[in-house]
Assembly symmetry: C2
Homo-oligomer: 302 residues x 2
């Protein structure tokens, strides 16, 4: 099949010239595989994940662990050796550290977390196979002036710009600060992962250099967001530090601003199935750097 023919056959076409209707996603959110573990997720969690595209694990980390990781984030954000590192993304207006990518290769503590059975085995359960880290990062959202992220599907970008074939990936967002309804926590549309929303606009070269700060390409149309919201509604991820949100790669999500004094930080780990390794980008001229989208498909083991 030529590249053009393959693009036409792609069920997840995006970055297109003219608006196109959202499409029903055929791939499951919870995969089954012969070698997948049967813990720690119970049947209710997997059912919720399949139906809603996400589930929450309370107290994934203990209060003491939260403190340990919080200190690690403070240490990383003050690490002068990292200041000029391209994996460190700064806030557009203030220059403050907003995210550190590939953090599991920077921090031994976070490398350990990735291999922790509470995390790794749940990812393997959901994806029904061995897994590897597609992307990892820590996010810092300051109080008073935290800016949000507009509605998007991660998979739309990963497919278009990274060449991820199918939405057989799952994100784990671990809150290191309490998430209130009012300090810019994640909003999700439960069940929206079953719909793929193509986005209009060609991907510019080196798009990621801007899109990590403010996304302009890969943004769903307001009409599509309104329809999805009408069908699925909006839920907020709230709860104490240490809780984790596991969500499907194609779940529609976003966040508002944070003017409260309560900063938020989280650890964000994206697991991809080793059977879903990246190929050429589906809608970009060049793949993004490996610290944003790893091509190192080695199964994680304990």
């Amino acid at each position: 099949m030529t590249r053009a023919a393959s693009a036409l056959a792609d069920p997840y076409r995006t970055r297109i010239l003219c608006p196109s209707s959202p499409v029903h996603r055929r791939d499951p959110a919870v995969w089954t595989g012969p070698g997948a573990p049967v813990r720690p997720a119970d049947a209710a969690a997997l059912t919720a994940h399949s139906a809603d595209g996400y589930h929450v694990v309370d107290e994934l980390l203990s209060p003491a662990e939260v403190q340990t990781y919080w200190n690690e984030l403070v240490r990383l954000s003050n690490d002068e050796n990292l200041a000029a590192d391209e994996r460190v993304i700064a806030e557009k207006k203030t220059g403050e550290v907003r995210s550190i990518f590939e953090v599991h290769r920077i921090s031994p503590l976070i490398a350990e977390l990735v291999r922790d059975p509470r995390v790794l085995d749940r990812a393997r359960q959901i994806l029904g196979s061995d897994v590897y880290i597609h992307q990892s990062r820590v996010n810092y959202m300051p109080g008073f002036k935290g800016t949000g992220f507009y509605w998007h599907s991660d998979f739309e970008t990963w497919h278009a710009e990274d060449g991820m074939p199918l939405p057989r990936a799952v994100s784990c967002s671990i809150a290191l600060a309490d998430n209130y309804a009012f300090n810019g926590g994640l909003m999700v549309m439960p069940g929206s992962h079953r719909t793929f929303v193509p986005c209009v606009g060609e991907t510019p070269a080196d798009n990621y250099k801007n899109s990590l700060q403010e996304q302009e390409i890969g943004v769903p149309a307001e009409r599509d967001i309104a329809r999805l919201c009408g069908v699925h509604g909006i839920k907020q991820f709230t709860g104490p530090a240490g809780s984790a949100l596991w969500f499907d790669a194609n779940l529609m999500h976003g966040s508002g601003s944070n003017i409260t004094p309560f900063p938020r930080s989280n650890i964000f780990l994206v697991f991809n199935s080793v059977e879903n390794a990246l190929v050429e980008p589906f809608a970009a001229t060049a793949a993004r750097p490996s610290f944003i989208a790893s091509r190192d498909v080695v199964p994680i083991t304990r």
Copy 2:
């Protein structure tokens, strides 16, 4: 007393050159007066208003009334005769109508609402006297791209720029759309009305022309906001359309952004006691126009 001496004696000094500690407010939030009505607010509502600086009235407007006023807001925002009116404030980025001031003199329907016993008598109860409209407006917050308002005390501005002597004023914000926790509704710090936070910075001439879109002067220091928040916490005003938030002039409040498809609109009426008529601004060279701060102290009657 000279003007300088009077400024020194002012318990609500603000727009100062150097940071200054917040001060305890001596004036009450609920005033008593011989002629004040005994309805519609009950004792519990008045007690809450005194302690927290606000109270909520569910279903102040019926669903049918909400629809009527919603239609009126749509009509006003499309009224070509108002397009060039200085009382119409547009969104900085998009040019869309954000607020219409002095709306009770523009819309007969809203003029009627101001005289409605459900509204007028409650204002007279709280302020313990006859009242007049210091400011009225309707606010439009669009979905998808609604911007919020940073933390502030209205009285700080009204005192500094309008010459309102005491915080003997009350605001009534009537929701015309459902307020969720996630569509940019008002956040308040319960009890913060008992503390007056002086703000640093001299008031520029014609400050209101910018401050109605984005406030830069009259903004409390982050340290003061954090302290108030630590003591009082944050509550959100949520609830169905038709509910009303009554809040003290000095309550610390703000709002976040709104990326959801749910727009919000509200009617905002500020009642001031006729015994608290405006004088010269306490910290500005010229008073703001009357459509923002009325000097027409005529008691409202039914």
